[in-house]
């Protein structure tokens, strides 16, 4: 665990899609898929990113979408970036025997470490990743190296056409699974959650909220009475059922609660 941000050298940068790059950082850290680190660019900001690979080096996949991530994209190999963490609760494999792993968009990064772990624990699983279009699919090897991968694109430019949730529905209709583990845009997660509930299947969903401390003290990331940074970011079905704000509300930097639409509009600025 790194408490105060430490500087880590970027040993490798792998472009994944036009808007996603994977950064390998020279920092030994151990953790569980679903946990995240705070990445710091001095003078700019500090934001949470899921770790797709722990160990002697760590890997994070960053999607370029705003001021912070644009600055990240300017970094080159041998540059350094601040890291602290890992924080939060990752995915739990307790009692899981047969799972579906789902990654949507840059949420794919948060589940990219799962296939290896599941395989090592002899847990059966199928993976589904989705993106708007072919070029935006990424991290295939993290999934294919350890099991079956179904890829979906909104426009049908690769793999299955349509949202990941359609693939999910089909699979749940055919076979029984213990647990669905997913990360992606909240609209997608809401759909995954509803699908699982309708099929009486447990799920673990990795949520996202604007974060400040990452430590569970400031409650910037609060959803109902849960702290996404500490109680989550991964929540199971039992907890999800109690989250009245999920899929509906989030908080701006001021702490003000607004509808998700307004939250995203603010993030876009």
């Amino acid at each position: 665990m790194i408490k105060a941000p430490e500087f880590a050298k970027i040993s490798r940068i792998v472009p994944e899609t036009p808007t996603v790059k994977t950064f390998y950082l020279e920092k030994e850290l151990n953790g569980i898929p679903g946990q995240f680190v705070m990445l710091w660019l001095p003078g700019v900001d500090e934001k949470p990113f899921s770790v797709s690979q722990f160990g002697k080096q760590i890997a994070v996949s960053i999607q370029k979408k705003g001021k912070f991530t644009e600055k990240c994209f300017e970094l080159k190999e041998c540059d350094s970036i601040g890291v602290r963490g890992p924080f939060g609760k990752g995915f739990s494999i307790a009692g899981v025997k047969k799972a579906i792993v789902i990654g949507g968009g840059c949420g794919t990064a948060a589940v990219a470490g799962l296939p290896k772990m599941l395989k090592e624990q002899n847990i059966k699983f199928v993976s589904i990743t989705g993106a708007r279009t072919k070029e935006e699919l990424f991290s295939q090897k993290n999934f294919q190296n350890f099991g079956e991968l179904i890829e979906c694109t909104d426009d049908g430019s690769f793999g299955k056409k349509g949202f990941v949730t359609e693939a999910l529905k089909e699979m749940l209709a055919k076979e029984k699974f213990d647990c669905v583990m997913a990360c992606g845009p909240e609209a997608m997660l809401l759909n995954v959650f509803k699908t699982c509930e309708a099929n009486s299947t447990q799920c673990q969903l990795s949520l996202e909220r604007f974060m400040k401390c990452g430590l569970g003290v400031c409650a910037q990331c609060v959803i109902d009475d849960q702290l996404v940074c500490k109680d989550g970011p991964v929540f199971n079905s039992e907890k999800m059922r109690k989250l009245s704000e999920f899929g509906k509300f989030a908080r701006l930097k001021s702490g003000e609660k607004v509808e998700l639409k307004e939250y995203y509009a603010w993030r876009q600025k």
């Binding site: 500087f7 003078g43 500090e46 601040g82 400040k212 400031c218 609060v222 009475d225 849960q226």
Partner: protein, 307 residues
């Protein structure tokens, strides 16, 4: 039927003496209620300000490597006092007293926020005149006798019967005099202490201060001796009750600050170390210690180190 750890602060009855410190968790009613369920005797909202503020960029809070606590410059983010109707409504259901913490950049702002907030009938209003993380708010007031007096009496004038509790800065050169000035201005209780400093941590590889705001207040175990001293000095100078906080992490810490003169105990950084369960842990350790040492009430324990 009373329990030995029942407490009371300026007439506000508390099932337990541990109170959630402002700035920790107090963003919405859901998490405040959870703190209450976990054993908090009362909960304090994140300080509420005049206008909507985002606070500082990240990093805003992190743990010091030396294990001495946290450093933070969150920078008083707030939706603005008019913008929290829903939270107020939901807070009515909270099973423990809710303390509304407020701040302002001028006496006028303090007064307007206080008047509005008083209308929501919180159990108490806490005046944050001691935040070290904003240029124009906070510490400026809390380190001057005159300014502390002025803002306290101005706010007291507009909040009717709701008890008023200024929160003091450990940076004050003479906290006993500041406390006295607040008491004379009509304060019903005092809260001590806010974060210490400010301090600064530089990442030597980045060659830059880590906090985006550069400097930030210290909290946690490192500041406990300062908090105990402040409560001690206030106890000798004022008659109104004191909410003591700063690094209180376990039952022994609570006993210590109560022996120094606190009527109740604030809990903040302990939540980082022990989760929201920090309240239950402190409460039960406190109760055990009191039982083992023959104390039948917080009141009897209070201030005994002065004898």
């Amino acid at each position: 039927m009373g329990n030995i750890i029942n407490a009371s602060l300026a007439g506000v009855e508390l099932k337990t003496p541990t109170i959630l410190a402002s700035g920790f968790l107090g963003v919405n009613s859901g998490i405040l209620k959870r703190a209450a369920e976990c054993g908090a005797g009362a909960v304090t909202t994140k300080s509420i300000g005049f206008e909507k503020r985002d606070g500082h960029n990240n990093p805003t809070v992190f743990e010091l490597e030396a294990g001495t606590g946290l450093i933070n410059a969150v920078g008083l983010p707030t939706p603005g006092f008019r913008n929290m109707e829903e939270e107020w409504l939901e807070l009515k259901e909270c099973k423990v007293p809710v303390i509304a913490s407020i701040f302002g950049a001028s006496v006028q702002e303090f007064v307007e926020v206080a008047e509005f907030v008083a209308g929501k009938k919180p159990a108490m209003i806490e005046l944050n005149i001691s935040c070290p993380n904003s240029k124009s708010h906070g510490q400026l007031f809390g380190t001057s006798k005159e300014a502390s007096f002025e803002v306290t009496s101005a706010v007291k004038n507009v909040i009717g019967k709701i008890p008023l509790m200024p929160k003091l800065s450990p940076q004050a050169l003479n906290i006993a005099e500041i406390g006295k000035a607040c008491e004379e201005a009509g304060a019903d209780a005092l809260c001590a202490i806010n974060t210490l400093g400010p301090g600064m941590v530089i990442n030597i590889e980045a060659r830059k201060p880590v906090l985006h705001y550069k400097t930030g207040g210290l909290s946690g175990p490192a500041i406990k001796p300062i908090a105990v001293r402040c409560v001690w000095q206030l106890f000798e100078s004022v008659k109104i009750p004191i909410l003591g906080l700063g690094g209180i992490t376990n039952g022994r810490d609570a006993v210590e600050i109560i022996q120094a003169g606190a009527s109740a105990v604030g809990v903040g950084t302990a939540i980082h170390y022990n989760g929201i369960e920090a309240f239950g842990k402190i409460n039960s350790e406190l109760e055990d210690w009191m039982q083992a040492n023959g104390f039948s009430s917080i009141e009897k324990l209070r201030g005994i180190a002065h004898d």
